[in-house]
Amino acid sequence: MSDVQSYPEKIKLYLRVAVVLAVVTVIEVGLTFVPHSAQPMKTIITLLIVALSCSKAFFVAYYYMHLNHEHKWTRIVAASPILILLYAATLIADTPNRPIDAYVGEPARGVTYPNTNSHELHKETKKAVNDPFADELDAEESEGWE
C-alpha cells in the first residue's frame, strides 16, 4: 500500500490499467468469434470470457476505485456483494426442482414464439405434479374464457 504516489506515477498507472482493460476487452470480443457451438468448447469459451471480465471488474475496482489505497474494512465492504454467489449457487443447485412453467409465462397477445405453447405446458405441469386444482383450472378456462 503505497500512500505516497507522485502525480506522474499515478497517471502512468492509470494508463497502464487502461491498456490492460482494452487488451482484455479485445480478447473477449475476439473469443466470441471463435466457433464454439459444440459442447466442450462452448463451456471453455464461456468460462474464459467470464473470468476475463471478472478480472477487468477487479482492475477497475482495485485501481480506479482506489481500493489499493483503502484499509481492510473498506475493502471488505467493497467485496461484500460477492456473497451473492452463495445465493446464486443455491438457486442453481435448485434449478432442476423447479417446473419449467415457472419460467415460461404467457406470451403477449398477438405474439407467438416458436417452441412452446406455454399455456398447454402450464396445465400439463400442474397435472404432472398432482396439483389438485389443475382440473379446476381447466374448468375455469372453459367456462370463463370462452
Binding site: 466470441t32 484499509h71 473498506t74 465492504v77 456483494p81 451473492i84 403477449a108
Partner: protein, 357 residues
Amino acid sequence: MFCVTALEREPNGTKNKGKVSRRQENVGDEDEEIDAANPARSLVFHRSVVEMIIEVGGQECGRNPKSGQHDFLMEFPFVLFDRPPAPNQKDAGGPVQYRVKRGEEKTGRGKTFHVGEELDQGPGAFKKVPELLKIVRLGSNLTPMGSHTTTDHHHDYAGPERPRKEDIFGPASHGKIGMWLYLATDAMTFAGFLLGYALLRARIESWPKPSDILGISLATIMTSILIVSSVTLVVAQAKGEQKDRKGLIKYLIFTVIGGLLFLGLQAYEYNHLMHAFGMSLSNFTGGPPQFASTFFVVTGFHGLHVLVGAIYLMIILGRAIAGKYDGGNVNEVEIAGLFWHFVDLVWILVFTFMYLI
C-alpha cells in the same frame, strides 16, 4: 517554538464534569528545538483531550492533504505517539501520553508517521508548513509530565460529545464509506437481476444467441467509451489533487461527454432493437419474450445509473468550476468517481453476460 491548543473535557467525579475547556500552551522557546527525550519539553494533559491544534509561528499547521480532514498527518515532521497506559494509572480509558518529537518514525492509531529527516526539507517541512494540523484524539486521558505553560485560559466550548471510533476504515472519509456501502447494496441489486436473467436463460431452450440479435460491435464501442470515461475521471481527480483546476474541469467534461455519448448510443440501440425485433419489455419476435424483458430491465437499470452518474458528475463539474476543489481536496470528486467507476464495472459484467456469452 510551537503552540498547542487543546480542548479538554473535565473528567467524571469533578465539579464541572463533561465540560469542555480550552487550554493553550507554548512549548519551546523561539529558536529552541524540541527534544522529546527531555520530559520537560513534552506536553502534559491531565484531562480528557477532545481536540488538539498545533500552531507553528502563529500558523496552524497540518491538514491531511488526502482526506482534507484535520487529522493526524502522515508526513509531518513531528511524531505524536501514544504510550501504553502505565499500570498504576486508574483513569478510565487508560492514560495516553503524547509527546512531540521530530526526526522519528512511530506508529499511533495503527498509522505510521513518516517524518522528514530535516525540519526544513520536504513537502511537509516544519518551517514551511502553511497548513493546519488539528490532532483529533477523543476520549483519551493524557498523563501528567512536566511542561512549559505560559498561558492557560479556559473557555466554554460545545465540542463533539462522543468519542470517535477507531479508524477501521483507515483513511476513508465518511462520505466515501457511505458511498461504498451504497455501492455494495447496488451491486446486490444488479446481481439479482443478472441472476434472474441467468436462471431464465438456463431453462428456456429457445433462447437465442445474443450476438445474433444484439450488435456486439456497438456494445464494444459503448464499453470502450465507459472505460475511457473512467480513465478520464481518475486523471481528473489526479489533476485536482495537483490543484490544477483547468485540468480537473477539462477531464471532468470529457467524462461527462463519455457518459452522454454512452446514453445516446444506448438510445440508438434500443430504437433499433424495437424496430428490428419488435422488442419491448414484454414482446419479442425473435424468440422468447424473456430475452427482451431481461435485456431491457438489466441494460435499462444500468442506463439509469449512467444518467444519474452523468448528472452527478455535472454537479461536481459545476463545483469544480466554482473553485470548490482549488485547495486540492478532491474528496467529493473521488466519491462521485466511485459511483462512476462502479457503473463502468457493472457494464463490463453486463456486456459479458448479456452480449458476449
